[in-house]
C-alpha cells in the first residue's frame, strides 16, 4: 500500500515537472521561433491580444489582432459609416450632432486599480473637442461627450485615471474663453487661455459628465498621462509654446529652453468645484488657479516636450523634449516634497512653477526626436525616436542607460507596448506606429498607407517580427489581453426595451399621424414584414426595424433605393431610420447585408401616392402572412 502511494506521488511529481517544462518551452518558443512562427496564428485560432488603433482623421477606431497583425474590424466613432447606418439611424445621428468629421488620436481603455478592465474604450476627437465612449460589450460607440465648452482642440485627451474616475481634455490651440468672444489673434497673451477639463466617468455605466475646468496660461497643451500608485490623484499634461506665439509657431514657439508639464491634482480641483469656488463659463464650472490654489502646478521640461508617461510603479514621470536628445525623468516623491516645502520658482498666470533641478531624477540620452515612452514588466522603458526612426530601450533606474535600439520604418510617432501604460505591462510586444511608410508596401500612388511594426520584447534584444500597413492614420493605440474582453454576439431580444421594438408578427404595422408615418417592421430570414408600404408624397417616414434573429452573425441591412439611407440591424436590435417620401411612384428597399440563402429575395416596395391620397391610419400586413411569420416565431 505504501509503495503504491510512493509511486503515485512520484508519478504526479514527474507529470508536474513535464507540465512545467512544457510551459517553459512554450514561453521560450514564443520568444525564440522564427519571426514568421511568432506572428502566425493558425486558421480558426484567435490572437492573444486585441489592439485598438486610433483612426486619426478618419475619425474611427481600427481593431487588430496581435500578434498576427490582422485587421479585424473598424468601429465608427466620429465619422458617419453608411454601411452600418452609423450617423444615418436616428440614435447615432443624434450622437454625431451633425459632425461628419473627427480626428481621433488617443484611445484609452478603462482601468481598475491601474490595469485595463476591458469595460470601455475612450477616444478623443481633437478638432471638435469631443470624447467618445465605446462599450466593449458590443464594440459600439455609446456616447459622444462634447464639444467640451471653452476648450479648443482636445489633443491631451482622454488618458483615463487608474479607476477611470476621470478622462481629461486640454486645449492644444488656446483660444478666447468663452469661445464666442470677438478678439484678434494679436491679443493672444491677453485674451487667449488654455483649458484643462476633467470629465467625470460614471463607475457603473461609463457615462461622461462635466467635472471641472481649469483656466490655464495660453500654451499649447499636448499630451497627458494619469499618475498611478503613489502619484494616483494627479494628471500630467505636457505643453509647448510657453512663448505664447500666435503665428509662425514653427520658429517662435521653439525659442525657450524650457516649456512645462502641468500637474493637476484632480481631487483638489473637483473639491473646489463642489465647494462652489468655480465660475460658470459656457456651461462649465471653471477654476482660476490665480484664485484657487493647490489644484495645478507647472514644472519645467526642456525643449518643446511631446509625450508624458508615468512608469508602472507610478514613481517616475517621463517627458521627452522633442527638440532634444534626452528623456527627462522626474521623481514624483521630489515633486510632492517640493510642493509641501513651498519651493516655487515664481508662477505663470497664477500657476506655481516648481524648480527643474529639485524634482529631476535623471536625464536619459535616448537619441534624436524622442516622443513617447512605454514600459514592460522587467523595469525597461521604450521611447520612440522620430528623427532617428528608432525605438530606444532603457533601464528605469540607475544607471539610467540605453541598453538596445531597433530601427523602424519610418518616422515613428507613438508606440504601444502590450498593456504598456498600466501598472502591470505584459512585456511581450511593442507596436511602432509610424508616420511614413514610403517604400514598404506595394505602391498605391501618392497617398501612402501608414506603416506599423510588431516588435518582440521577450528576448534580451528587441526583434522586428512583422510589418503591416494601416489606413489613415493611427496615432496612439492600446493593446489588451484578449481574455479580458467578453463581447456579446447577439443582443438578447428579451433585453430589447426600445420603445419602437416589435417582437411579434402581429405587431408589424404602419401608423400615420398627419404627415408622419411610423413603420413597425420586423426583419428575420428572409423577409421584412410589412414589405409593401403605402405612403403619401411629402410624408416623413420613420422605419423602426427590429431584427428578430438570435443567431450569431445574422445581421440584416435595410437600404432604400435612390437615397443615402441605409442601416444594419444586428440580431435582437431595433433601429430607427428616417426617409422623406419625395417622389411619387415605386421605390424598392432591400436587405443590404448578405444574410442567408434567400437574401436576394429579402426586399419590399414603398408605394408613394400623390399627396392627399386617402390612406388608412393603420395598415397591417396580410393576416395569412402574419400567421406564417408568427408560426416560425412561436417556439419561444
Amino acid at each position: 500500500m505504501r509503495r503504491w502511494m510512493v509511486w503515485s506521488l512520484a508519478g504526479a511529481l514527474a507529470l508536474a515537472a513535464i507540465a512545467q517544462s512544457q510551459g517553459c518551452s512554450q514561453r521560450m518558443a514564443g520568444a525564440s521561433g522564427s519571426a514568421a512562427q511568432r506572428v502566425y496564428v493558425k486558421p480558426g485560432e484567435h490572437d492573444a491580444y486585441y489592439a485598438f488603433l486610433s483612426g486619426g482623421h478618419h475619425g474611427n477606431i481600427y481593431v487588430y489582432g496581435m500578434p498576427s497583425c490582422r485587421h479585424i474590424t473598424t468601429i465608427p466613432v466620429f465619422t458617419p459609416e453608411p454601411a452600418v447606418g452609423y450617423g444615418v439611424d436616428e440614435e447615432s445621428k443624434e450622437m454625431l450632432k451633425g459632425f461628419t468629421w473627427g480626428d481621433a488620436h488617443h484611445p484609452g481603455l478603462s482601468e481598475t486599480d491601474g490595469d485595463y478592465d476591458g469595460r470601455w474604450l475612450f477616444i478623443n476627437d481633437m478638432p471638435n473637442a469631443r470624447i467618445a465612449r465605446i462599450d466593449l460589450k458590443d464594440f459600439k460607440t455609446r456616447q459622444i461627450f462634447g464639444p467640451i465648452p471653452n476648450l479648443s482642440a482636445a489633443h491631451a485627451c482622454p488618458f483615463p485615471t487608474p479607476n477611470t474616475e476621470y478622462v481629461f481634455a486640454a486645449s492644444r490651440f488656446s483660444a478666447p474663453v468663452p469661445l464666442d468672444r470677438v478678439v484678434r489673434a494679436a491679443d493672444y497673451q491677453k485674451e487667449f487661455r488654455g483649458i484643462i477639463a476633467g470629465i467625470k466617468v460614471d463607475p457603473q455605466d461609463g457615462t461622461m459628465a462635466m467635472g471641472f475646468e481649469i483656466l490655464m496660461p495660453p500654451f499649447n497643451y499636448d499630451l497627458a498621462d494619469a499618475g498611478k500608485g503613489p502619484s494616483h490623484g494627479w494628471e500630467f499634461f505636457t505643453c509647448y509654446n510657453s512663448e505664447m506665439a500666435y503665428d509662425s509657431l514653427e520658429l517662435k514657439a521653439s525659442q525657450n529652453e524650457m516649456d512645462y508639464i502641468a500637474a493637476v491634482d484632480w481631487r483638489a480641483a473637483q473639491k473646489a468645484v463642489d465647494e462652489g469656488r468655480a465660475r460658470m463659463i459656457g456651461g462649465a464650472p471653471v477654476l482660476d488657479p490665480a484664485e484657487v490654489k493647490g489644484i495645478v502646478y507647472l514644472f519645467p521640461v526642456p525643449k518643446s516636450p511631446h509625450g508624458v508617461d508615468v512608469d508602472p510603479s507610478g514613481q517616475y514621470v517621463c517627458a521627452a523634449g522633442k527638440l532634444q536628445a534626452e528623456v527627462s525623468v522626474y521623481s514624483f516623491e521630489k515633486f510632492r516634497a517640493a510642493i509641501d516645502a513651498g519651493r516655487f520658482d515664481g508662477e505663470k498666470m497664477g500657476v506655481p512653477v516648481l524648480p527643474y533641478e529639485t524634482i529631476l531624477e535623471a536625464k536619459v540620452p535616448v537619441g534624436l526626436g524622442p516622443l513617447h515612452t512605454q514600459f514592460d514588466d522587467r523595469g525597461f522603458a521604450y521611447t520612440s525616436l522620430f528623427l532617428d526612426s528608432q525605438i530606444a530601450k532603457w533601464k528605469v533606474g540607475a544607471p539610467w542607460e540605453v541598453v538596445d535600439k531597433i530601427d523602424v520604418y519610418y518616422s515613428i510617432g507613438h508606440l504601444m507596448a502590450s498593456e504598456g501604460d498600466t501598472r502591470h505591462p505584459t512585456g511581450e510586444y511593442v507596436v511602432a506606429l509610424d508616420k511614413l511608410s514610403k517604400d514598404r508596401y506595394l505602391n498605391v500612388g501618392p497617398t501612402h498607407p501608414e506603416g506599423a511594426q510588431l516588435i518582440d520584447l521577450r528576448g534580451p534584444k528587441m526583434e522586428l517580427l512583422y510589418d503591416f500597413p494601416t489606413y489613415l492614420e493611427p496615432h496612439y493605440a492600446q493593446m489588451i489581453r484578449a481574455e479580458k474582453l467578453k463581447p456579446i454576439t447577439v443582443y438578447p431580444l428579451a433585453e430589447n426595451t426600445k420603445p419602437h421594438a416589435i417582437k411579434r408578427a402581429e405587431d408589424a404595422r404602419i401608423e400615420r399621424k398627419g404627415r408622419r408615418v411610423d413603420v413597425y417592421m420586423l426583419a428575420i430570414r428572409t423577409h421584412f414584414t410589412p414589405d409593401v408600404i403605402r405612403v403619401n408624397q411629402g410624408d416623413d417616414v420613420y422605419f423602426h426595424v427590429t431584427n428578430l434573429e438570435q443567431d450569431d452573425d445574422i445581421a440584416h441591412g435595410f437600404g432604400i433605393n435612390w437615397s443615402s439611407k441605409n442601416m444594419q440591424i444586428e440580431p435582437g436590435e431595433t433601429k430607427t431610420m428616417h426617409w422623406k417620401a419625395e417622389k411619387v411612384g415605386i421605390t424598392p428597399f432591400y436587405c443590404s447585408n448578405f444574410c442567408s440563402a434567400l437574401h436576394q429575395e429579402m426586399q419590399g416596395y414603398l408605394e408613394v401616392a400623390p399627396a392627399g391620397t386617402p390612406i388608412a391610419a393603420i395598415q397591417r400586413p396580410d393576416p395569412a402572412r402574419v400567421a406564417e411569420v408568427a408560426a416560425v416565431l412561436s417556439a419561444e
Binding site: I524, E549, D551, S634, A635
Partner: protein, 209 residues
Amino acid sequence: MTRYLFGSFAPAQRQLIVVAAVLLLPVFFLPMLPIWHLYMVAPQYPEGLTLHIYSNTIRGDLDKINILNHYVGMKAITPGDFGEFSYMPQALTLFGVAALAAALFGRRWLAIAGWLAFTGFAAVMFNSYVQWLYRYGHDLDPRAAIKLQTFMPPVIGFQKMANFKVWSIPGIGTWILGFAWLLGPAILWLERKAPAATDEDAAEAPDAA
C-alpha cells in the same frame, strides 16, 4: 403460479425495487434530466445546434432551428404542440410510486404489473417520438422555398441531411430509466438464483407486512 405472483420479495430484492423507484422519481418528477438529444452540425454551424428533449418540454436552439426549418417548409417545433408533455412527468412519477409501493408491500404481482405497465408506457412514448419525427419530416409545406423529398429524421444514431450532420442520442434520463427498467428482470433472475430465500420470505411475509 398464483402463489408465486402473490408471494413477496426477499429484502435484497425489495431494496433493488426501492433503487428503481428512487431512480424513476427524480428523472421524471423533476424535469432536470434530458431524455433525448439531437445534435446538428453544418459547415456554418461548427459549434452545432442542439435540441434537448425533457419529460415536459424541449429546450435548446429551438428558435434557430425553426428559422432554418422554415426554408424547407417544416412545421415549427413548439413545445406546446406536444400533448405528451402534459402527462409524461405525472405518469412516470406514478410508476415510481408504484415501485415504491411494491417495495413497501413486497408483493411480487404489484412489482410485475408495475414493470409491465412501465414497459408498455415506454413503448407507447417511444412510438409517439418516432411519429413526431415522421410528421416533421413528411408534413412539409408544399409552398416552401426549398422543396425537399420527404424524409425520416434519425430515430437514434447518425444521419446526413442536406448540409447538416444529425446525431440522435438518448439522454441521461433515458439511461437512468433503462437501468431502472432492467432492474425488473434482474430481480426475477436474482430470485431464481436463490429460490430458498424467496420461499422462506414468502412464509414470513404476512407478519412482515
